[in-house]
Amino acid sequence: MMWKEKYKIGIDSIDRQHEELFGHVSNFTQTIRNEENWEAKLDKVKETMAFMKDYVITHFSEEEAYQEKINYPYLEEHREAHDKFKEAVNDYVKIFEENGFTEDKIQEFGGKLMTWLIMHVGNMDQKIGEYVKSKGGQS
């Protein structure tokens, strides 16, 4: 499993979504890395990709709405990071649509996705938790 307790930011609703997101990325990673024949698991790869693309957008929107609600001072910076993340995912989706879901490209995407996600949740999102804490607790 990719999820670690240290990634929690101390806001239950966001932590639950992060844990779920990590779960999906972890399953995706296991799917693309298992020994099964690539053609045989292609449908599952496509299905997971489509789901994750939507889930990432939903999660980011909800996280941004929460930041607005608490008047988070770094909302714009955070939104920019989300936009970059979404753009990077969409760039890969475009590559897959144009050139097919090749194993090499999907593996490349999987390695990047895992690293981005850990870095974003483990670093940038922690600052939301720190801000809420500095204001006296969960909002």
Partner: protein
């Protein structure tokens, strides 16, 4: 080469590896090198442009690369395939980005090119006219190097 270049890359590396793979690298003695080359198994080159120009090379042994990807993914890795090399490239990319943010505090505005990943020995196609600095970093899961060549 100025100490702030080295210190920025060291701090960024420490912060990023602590977060991503739970390890704290310790800096070894700096070495002056004449060429941009490495005999380690996985190398990531980052081009730097802007107020500072040059390139940075991250060089990792195979076992350390696999261990880092294993710590992040929670899965066993037995070879540096596209998944592992892409994760490694992204780690170097994040370190580079963070180091440039630190360098901006010294009023250097720079940008990095997308990471170029080389599996196996690495030797730069273009020769260096000046010397570069190599910083060895020791961790509980292996020793790696960052070679820095930057000029104003």
């Amino acid at each position: 080469m100025k100490s702030e270049y080295i210190n920025s890359f060291y701090k960024a590396t420490k912060d990023v590896l602590r977060l991503l793979v739970d390890i704290e690298p310790q800096r070894g003695d700096l070495k002056v090198v004449n060429c941009f080359a490495s005999n380690k198994d996985a190398n990531v080159e980052l081009g730097v442009k802007g107020d500072l120009k040059g390139k940075i090379l991250f060089s990792f042994p195979q076992n350390m690369t696999l261990e880092m990807v294993k710590i992040m993914s929670g899965m066993e890795m037995d070879k540096i395939d596209n998944f592992a090399s892409s994760a490694l490239g992204e780690i170097a990319n994040i370190i580079g980005g963070n180091a440039l943010t630190l360098l901006s505090e010294y009023n250097y505005t720079c940008d990095i090119d997308p990471p170029q990943i080389y599996i196996g020995n690495y030797e730069s196609a273009s020769a260096l006219n000046e010397k570069a600095l190599q910083m060895p970093l020791v961790t509980p899961i292996g020793e790696f190097d960052i070679t820095i060549f930057l000029k104003e």
